[in-house]
């Protein structure tokens, strides 16, 4: 396998505490090496920024609701398709890219690992087919548990061991990565057209509260010692005043400690925090509560968050928070798609235009930036757009520009039709902080890798780690003349290496790898009751047989990478 030496770059690696030193990075046999031979290919990174490949902790890029979005939005592709070119397959989709385009666009921005944020377990075969067809980047997928009938029934009686056994079984048969929770209880309520808007709202029939579901799943997650923490999209997303539900949800983690062998220190990951940081009582007095939410997270170190930045684009919302999507179509009257999934979850899809002329959208934009600027520990705050909900992931370079340049933020604020409202309802105007490259590396590489339990293999440039490396045409030593240069530099890398193979050069795809599907294989003690419950539900309530449920076969997961967990300790 090829050897490379990336010379003279300005290296930012939080895993080793390197803050812009000019260092050489050596690559050998797919890993970062201490040194390489003299026949190593030289990559000149003088005047450039070198970081580990970025890690996407939450995006909707593979699966049935993503594809439903593609199918039902031909207009998302009108006049914006890219042709077949060299080794690149053709691409399409502005807010919902096709799988080929997804892989290429992430790689070109220096992303080398991505997590599909919500997998409906019954559809795991679909998710894996799309992951398989996404080039270059390693991927995993999070099965959803917060509205799952097994989980609701076990946790009503606080049966943690049974819940853990079920989680282990489901992760194995769906080749899933983590415990994802979306609108706990509320999405089961939505199967009857109802919802749970607070953590104490009981779920119809199952008579368990979201608080009980969340606490139980955190306990089960730590019982197993999974690589990632419980990952949650709380109740009441998107409504004015929802920050209270968010704080109620975060408080459920108080006193809980992380237990695992992967270096993860948190027990709860709050996703797309922007959507959960709203104050006010209606759209008129709508305001930011970013400070209240970040104050709490700053103090409680067993919590991590990702931002969910609004990018001010026409995009497509899609989430397992089915009732929210129905609510959204009631507001904007745009086409609404919904799919309730038996025993498990739901998904909803609605297009949305974040117009800079609408004050609510401008305030949302501001909140998304306040959050990372107010977070004290960049290792616990990660940059996302909840793609495509708050904006397409291809806008990450723009978000980075806004975070690194107050001037760029001010330019956008001055362009808002309702600038005064943005300034009065948020504190974006008074935030002077500009993210440094080191902090950026923490928020987009080292931080998410650690919280995902992947800190031993990616997110850093320590010898022995995977050779996932991104080199940006960005010189940290020269002052930024025009913030647009930040966006430009982070849009197209000078070089990207994935598992030691050069995949991007001068912003073009030049290579590919046998991408891996990351999943978690948790071993638990034999649990006859859970086995029997699974058999029974398939026999009586599912519409497919148990023997056909598992995502089995090379055609689904051609290159699996299992993180092994041994939870047979009790």
């Amino acid at each position: 396998m090829s050897e490379y030496i990336i010379k003279n770059g300005n290296v930012f690696d939080p895993v080793q505490g390197i803050k812009g030193d000019k260092k050489d990075i050596a690559i050998k046999d797919g890993k970062i090496a201490d040194k390489v031979s003299s026949s190593a290919k030289v990559i000149d990174a003088k005047g450039m920024t070198v970081m580990a490949g970025a890690v996407e902790i939450h995006a909707h890029i593979a699966g049935p609701k993503v594809n439903l979005g593609r199918i039902y939005r031909p207009e998302d592709k009108l006049f914006s398709c890219t042709p077949t070119k060299g080794m690149e397959r053709m691409g399409s989709g502005a807010s919902i890219p096709t799988t080929f385009k997804t892989g290429y666009e992430y790689a070109k921005m220096g992303y080398t690992t991505a997590m599909e944020a919500a997998m409906p377990p019954m559809f795991s075969r679909h998710v894996h087919e799309e992951i398989r067809d996404t080039p270059i980047i390693d991927e995993g997928a999070f099965p959803v548990f917060g509205n799952n009938w097994f989980v609701l029934e076990y946790l009503k009686n606080h049966e943690i061991e049974n819940t853990a056994a079920y989680i282990a079984w489901l992760l194995r048969v769906t080749k899933g990565y983590a415990v994802k929770v979306v609108n706990p209880g509320g999405t089961e309520a939505w199967a009857w057209g109802l919802n749970c808007l607070s953590v104490n709202d009981p779920v119809p029939y199952f008579d368990i509260t979201p608080a009980e579901i969340v606490k139980g799943l955190i306990e089960a997650n730590e019982y197993l010692g999974l690589p990632h923490s419980m990952h949650i999209h709380p109740n009441n997303l998107g409504n004015p005043g929802c920050y209270e539900t968010t704080l109620d949800t975060l408080k459920l983690a108080e006193g809980m400690k992380a237990k695992n062998k992967f270096g993860r220190e948190s027990v709860l990951h709050l996703t797309h925090t922007q959507f959960h940081s709203y104050g006010g009582t209606n759209w008129g007095d709508f305001e930011s509560k970013a400070k209240e939410v970040t104050d709490y997270v700053n103090k409680n170190k067993n919590i991590t968050i990702d931002t969910g930045n609004v990018t001010l684009d026409e995009t497509t919302t899609m989430t397992a928070d089915g009732p929210f999507e129905h609510h959204l179509t009631g507001l904007n009257h745009l086409k609404w798609a919904n799919c309730d999934v038996e025993l498990e979850t739901c998904a909803g899809v609605v297009p949305y235009i974040y117009s800079p002329n609408i004050s609510v959208c401008a305030i949302q934009w501001a909140i998304g930036l306040e959050i990372p600027l107010m977070m004290k520990d960049p290792m616990r705050c990660y940059i996302t757009t909840d793609h495509p909900n708050a904006g397409p992931f291809t806008r990450y370079p723009r978000v980075i520009k806004w975070l690194m340049s107050k001037k760029a933020r001010d330019t956008q604020i001055n362009a808002f039709k309702h600038k005064d409202k943005v300034l009065s309802q948020t504190s974006i105007g008074s935030l002077d902080k500009e993210l440094s490259l080191y902090e950026l590396a923490q928020m987009t590489r080292a931080g998410p890798a650690k919280t995902l339990g992947l800190g031993h293999m990616c997110g850093g440039l320590k010898p022995g780690m995977d050779a996932d490396v991104a080199v940006y045409n960005f010189n940290p030593d020269t002052p930024v003349a025009d913030p647009e240069n930040i966006e430009k530099a982070f849009s197209r890398c000078a070089h990207v290496f994935k598992l030691g193979v050069e995949v991007v050069k001068n912003g073009e795809i030049v290579g590919t790898v046998n991408k891996r599907t990351l999943w978690v294989n948790a071993k638990v003690n034999d649990n006859p009751q859970v086995k029997r419950d699974i058999n029974e539900k398939f026999l009586k309530y599912y519409s497919m047989t148990q023997n056909n449920y598992e995502a089995l076969g090379h055609h689904f997961v051609p290159n699996p990478y299992a993180l092994e967990v041994d939870a047979t300790h009790v």
Binding site: Y72, R73, P74, E75, D76, L78, H333, L334, K335
Partner: protein, 266 residues
């Protein structure tokens, strides 16, 4: 205004995609440069000069450029697509997408046109002396933002799906229309001087339809609302007024509920 004439000399075996034939693309070019413009027959790239004889001069801008298209162009698609200014005269009948996505300028088609003419039109004028196919002035698939401005006149008949998701502009059809007129429309105006068949104004939220002739089957969602004396396109008469679609959501403007209006000449 300068005029370029292009004459079909070498008919394609399949169909030609000629989205480069617009005043915007021709402006400022010599005949030789125009002959080099790309054109596609299926997946085979070619140049305009292989199919057309090109004569005349172009203006410096689209607004100063007129194109006359002669010969048999019944297998040429996309004439005038996305044009923003200038003029085009098509001497005979032509195929799909005439003036699709146009934002300005004038097109005169002296024969018939096939489907998808004036898709998502934003401005300008399209006159069709013969018949129009289906989807005249309709939105692109999946888009709730259809025709929003401009004027279309069809002297013959039009097909189905005229003005789907229309939000503005005006369509006048001297002849008859087929099913599904202004479905899902949220604005704009259509006048049909001949007859309609059925499914007129289905799912309409706002906008106006005038039918001078007969409607075979009315939509149940259109409620009788009396009669009015109107002058429409220079013609005075008594019209039965209907409001609807009563099955749809209704917008409010200054506290008043808005309906789409359908007027049928008595």
């Amino acid at each position: 205004m300068e005029t370029v004439t292009i004459t079909m000399k070498n008919a394609p075996a399949l169909y030609l995609e000629a989205d480069t034939i617009t005043p915007d693309t021709f402006a400022g070019k010599t005949a030789a440069q125009i002959a080099d413009l790309p054109v596609f027959e299926g997946n085979a790239p070619s140049t305009l000069g292989k199919y057309f004889e090109i004569a005349g001069n172009t203006g410096a801008t689209a607004a100063d450029t007129k194109i006359i298209v002669k010969g048999d162009v019944r297998k040429v698609k996309y004439l005038g697509m996305k044009m923003s200014a200038g003029e085009m005269v098509i001497e005979g009948s032509t195929d799909l997408y005439v003036g699709a996505w146009m934002t300005g300028g004038k097109i005169l088609a002296k024969g018939n046109v096939e489907g998808f003419a004036a898709t998502a039109m934003k401005g300008g004028e399209l006159t069709i002396e013969g018949n129009a196919g289906n989807y005249l002035g309709a939105a692109y698939r999946g888009d709730w933002r259809g025709m929003s401005g401009g004027k279309i006149l069809v002297k013959g008949n039009a097909g189905s799906d005229v003005g789907m998701y229309m939000t503005g502009g005006e369509i006048v059809i001297n002849g008859n229309v087929d099913v599904h007129l202004m479905t899902h429309a949220e604005g704009g105006k259509t006048i049909v001087k001949g007859n309609a068949t059925s499914k007129v104004g289905g799912q309409m939220v706002d906008g106006t339809i005038f039918i001078f002739g007969t409607i075979e089957t009315m939509m149940p969602g259109f409620k009788p609302n009396g009669e009015v004396e109107l002058e429409v396109d220079g013609i005075k008469g008594k019209f039965a007024h209907f409001i609807g679609d009563m099955g749809e959501r209704h917008k409010k403007r200054k506290g008043a509920v808005i309906y789409a209006n359908l007027y049928k000449k008595i």
